[in-house]
């Protein structure tokens, strides 16, 4: 039998619901199976751990072919908010929590959360801008260090 996966480090690089959820579900799922997990948030993925933004992440209805919605309709005011609200309701029924609760859950499950230093510098963010579950702001070198001995997944 193949060796079991023991450790994963997941990079969340995209914003929006569809950018953030896959990484969170994979990290949480790893912990549920006793696999060590790290989450590294970079670029717009950082929204998921910025206290002021984490609860307001939406799904894009424009420029998102996966939504199967003509862009002319997608631009209507409130369209993205409506699509987001519908999606969150469906997910809640499946016990997939909203992002702030999910971050808390995955942290309580023992996953470590990191913010990318390059992005933090670019957007002029500070440690105080992040939710308390974030362990630290680290650079790429440190990310490879914490990922040592495991799989790296980029989302």
């Amino acid at each position: 039998m193949e060796d079991k996966i023991k450790k994963v480090s997941i990079v969340v690089s995209k914003g929006g619901l569809d950018g953030v959820y896959p990484g969170l579900i994979m990290a949480n799922g790893a912990r549920m199976d006793g696999i060590e997990a790290n989450l590294f948030f970079t670029f717009f993925g950082l929204d998921a751990i910025i206290t002021k933004r984490m609860g307001k992440i939406k799904i894009a209805t424009v420029g998102n072919p996966g939504m199967h919605m003509p862009s002319l309709i997608g631009i209507l005011p409130g369209m993205s908010a409506m699509a987001t609200s519908m999606m969150l309701k469906t997910m809640d029924k499946l016990d997939i929590p909203p992002i702030p609760e999910f971050i808390e859950m995955v942290y309580d499950a023992g996953c470590k959360l990191y913010a990318c230093k390059a992005t933090v510098d670019m957007f002029k963010l500070k440690k105080e801008d992040f939710c308390p579950q974030v362990d630290s702001i680290i650079n790429v070198g440190k990310f490879y260090e914490v990922s040592a001995g495991g799989e790296i997944i980029f989302t």
């Binding site: 579900i25 912990r31 549920m32 006793g34 016990d95 997939i96 929590p97 808390e104 309580d108």
Partner: protein, 105 residues
């Protein structure tokens, strides 16, 4: 169908050792499965979780998610991971005599 012997009890299980018939479950069986899963002794905190999971299972036909356990106030996510290290939802379901949870969260 595979069977497993726990003390005096013989139970029907699936390929991964999850009980297929909750009516064959006893507290002794639970303690024996717990030992196999690396939990030396089931404490009152463990039993509280196991009993809640069985109650939910009987009502809904599936084991509750970690989120539901947390929201119910029975056990926080952190405590659950401490009580059933290395895979809490699946381990607890197995010890409680329930089917393997299928959900992703």
């Amino acid at each position: 169908m595979p069977q497993k012997q726990y003390g005096a009890a013989t139970v029907d299980v699936d390929d991964e050792g999850f009980l297929t018939d909750l009516s064959q479950w006893t507290r002794e069986v639970a303690a024996a499965i717990a030992k196999e899963e690396g939990i030396a002794e089931l404490t009152p905190a463990h039993w509280k979780v196991l009993e809640f999971m069985q109650k939910e299972f009987k009502e809904n036909g599936t084991a509750p998610s970690i989120r539901k356990l947390n929201k119910s106030g029975v056990v926080s996510t952190k405590e659950l991971y401490d009580l059933f290290p290395g895979g809490p939802a699946k381990k607890a379901a197995k010890i409680a005599g329930l089917k393997k949870p299928e959900g992703c969260v």
